[in-house]
């Protein structure tokens, strides 16, 4: 009884602190998202002024054509590959930042990691376009240095999409891993070493398990938006740049079929949630 009263008064005092956040979430996320759920079951957009009715047809469209499934699988593969590259590149960087560098040099490197966040995403992609194309910066630079002639034209290809996306998302991995790595007590590592573990064993038995929450959080932060990405594939991918996200964008922008676009988005959301739900026990055990 006393405990219940206490928790109620605790909630009351917390209310002023919580209200702004929840109000914002309701207005900015919950309302538009529920409107989209509503649209996804409609034959026509109510805004369009045409008569409309409820239908499951938009969801059925996903299953009636193999192309949506093909693209969804391609997007999931893209998400996995980008996440993997982000781990390969981001984790060692985070380790060096957290455990090797100190003081000024750490700040400087940290700044370099954060820097991409400060520039507009579109600008980043267009600068990659200049680097990757035939006769671009990479091609010219390598040919100036190398004694033999090579031809590098990565632009408008699948690798170009991967490069662009990894560049955009690797800071998330560095930041989340940095936070967990930095929290590892150095004495644990020293203890492991002094008890005869090799560097590799310390990494495998101490550092990676303790930093797992950061890796998992970073992977989830990267995987989800990459699966739905459309700007990078469209600009860098050329004729291989059709993905699930670009098809959704077409429905919204090119043909103005919001109901189908919304339905495709929610199917993606459902698939991503299922993947995260299936993966979470495994990941939790690992963490």
């Amino acid at each position: 009884m006393a405990a219940a009263t206490a928790s109620r008064s605790g909630l009351r005092s917390a209310l002023p602190l919580l209200t702004p956040a929840y109000l914002w979430l309701t207005v900015a996320i919950f309302l538009p998202l529920s409107a989209m759920v509503f649209f996804s079951f409609m034959t026509e957009l109510p805004l369009s002024g045409k008569p409309w009715a409820f239908t499951l047809g938009n969801y059925a469209a996903f299953f009636s054509q193999s192309l949506y499934l093909t693209l969804l699988l391609a997007s999931l593969r893209l998400g996995l590959e980008v996440t993997l590259w982000c781990i390969v590149i981001g984790y060692p960087a985070a380790y060096v930042l957290a455990k090797v560098l100190k003081g000024r040099s750490r700040e400087a490197i940290f700044l370099l990691v954060i820097l991409p966040f400060w520039s507009n995403g579109l600008v980043r992609i267009f600068s990659w376009a200049m680097v990757l194309r035939e006769g671009g910066i990479l091609d010219t630079a390598l040919n100036a240095v190398l004694p033999f002639k090579i031809n590098i034209d990565l632009m408008y290809s699948y690798p170009a999409v991967i490069i662009g996306l990894v560049h955009s998302y690797v800071p998330y991995m560095v930041l989340t891993c940095y936070l967990t790595l930095q929290a590892i007590d150095d004495s644990l590592i020293e203890a492991g070493r002094s008890l005869g573990a090799s560097r590799l064993q310390v990494l495998k038995r101490v550092i990676i398990p303790l930093s797992m929450p950061g890796l998992v959080a970073g992977a989830a932060l990267i995987f989800v938006p990459v699966v739905g990405s459309f700007m990078e594939p469209r600009i860098l991918g050329g004729r291989t740049g059709t993905f699930y996200g670009t098809v959704i964008e077409d429905q919204f922008v090119a043909v103005f079929n919001w109901p189908l676009g919304a339905a495709l988005s929610f199917i993606l959301l459902a698939v991503v949630l299922v993947i995260l739900a299936v993966a979470s026990p495994v990941l939790r055990r690992a963490a």
Partner: protein
């Protein structure tokens, strides 16, 4: 832009436009058009405002469907709307646009008869759209890759250009282009399988799908492409304005032509201002300045075209009677056709991955 950003943006735009609706004043002319398409040129707006005392308020759309939705959901907001002739029917059927009293437009008399009398714009003797400009979706080439300009559309399929061909990322345009390549009428495609087969064999040639003029020009500037579909006005702009090695080719098989026209929505608050604005848009003086300063498609006003220098692209190439024989104007298409075209186009893009 991620998906939630897009949603937020669209919501914000909707809120913003409805806020504008309350602010509409009698002496304002609200114009709905593509961005960067003549009507929003600062010098033009300034000249019109000075001449008539009306204030121009521009608003833009990104697709024809969006344009129709904007007129539908904001009755009374817009005074002038630019509608592609192929969409005029749809707007009229939806009671979105009203007949125009062309006697109030002194320049209307100079519009070429075939355009002014187009059945797409005139219904029951009433004018629902004033022809403004027209142009082609034809081929354009990188001059550096050709000794002699090609004459046939088949050049796009030539193995010599593999990986150096571009086509616009637009389902309707792609399908109609396929119809021309298979010798069919773009407005009455009988053999869809032939179109699909023809486009399927084109896909491995493609470098990328362009979506803006800038994409095209950048690729030519860095010598990455040989040939591709392009808009006539853009090809001219690339050559004269940006000094790029680009030439337009109207292949012997034909090309897709489109006609853009101005309409007045039902419930427009400033019809007199709208008439004045449309008249100004088809005026030779505005047109010549637009061509010289920016580069533009071909005016539907014959006097405006005659006011251009003799060797101007829009007069010499586009005015060539041989070209006129070959081109096919886009007629209205139904929503069902549009969706079928999109499904076909998406399938082609997935198959080539």
């Amino acid at each position: 832009m991620r998906m939630p950003d897009l949603t937020a943006l669209l919501t914000a735009t909707a809120v913003f436009t409805s806020a504008l609706a309350f602010a509409a004043k009698a002496d304002e002319v609200h114009v709905l058009n593509w961005k960067g398409y003549g009507a929003d040129e600062p010098w033009a707006v300034e000249a019109f405002e000075k001449a008539t005392g009306n204030k121009v308020v521009n608003d833009f759309f990104n697709s024809e469907q969006e344009m129709l939705t904007k007129i539908r959901t904001n009755p009374g907001l817009y005074d002038v709307v630019m509608i592609n002739a192929a969409f005029n029917d749809q707007a009229m059927d939806g009671k979105l646009i009203q007949p125009i009293d062309v006697s109030k437009l002194p320049n209307y008399a100079d519009i070429s008869k075939d355009k002014a009398g187009s059945p797409m714009l005139v219904h029951d003797g009433k004018v629902y759209g004033v022809p403004w400009v027209w142009g082609l979706t034809a081929l354009a080439i990188n001059d550096k890759s050709f000794d002699k300009p090609p004459t046939s559309i088949a050049e796009m399929w030539d193995a010599a250009h593999k990986g150096r061909v571009v086509i616009r990322d637009d389902a309707v345009e792609a399908v109609q282009f396929g119809a021309i390549a298979t010798g069919q009428n773009i407005n009455d495609i009988k053999d869809m399988d032939a179109v699909k087969a023809k486009l399927t064999s084109l896909m491995p040639q493609i470098k990328t799908f362009w979506s803006s003029e800038n994409d095209w020009n950048q690729m030519v500037a860095s010598n990455q492409i040989d040939i591709g579909t392009y808009w006539s006005g853009s090809a001219d702009r690339a050559k004269t304005h940006f000094k790029l090695p680009v030439s337009l080719v109207v292949p012997q098989e034909g090309a897709v032509a489109w006609l853009d026209a101005f309409s007045i929505p039902v419930g427009a608050k400033n019809v007199a201002g709208a008439e004045a604005f449309i008249n100004y848009m088809i005026d030779p003086k505005f047109y010549v300045e637009w061509v010289t300063k920016v580069g533009a498609p071909v005016s539907a006003n014959t006097k405006a075209v005659e006011a251009l220098p003799e060797d101007a692209f829009n007069r010499k190439v586009m005015g060539d009677p041989e070209v006129a024989k070959r081109i096919q104007f886009q007629a209205p298409i139904t929503d069902a056709q549009r969706e079928a075209y999109l499904a076909l186009w998406q399938q082609l893009k997935v198959d080539v991955k």
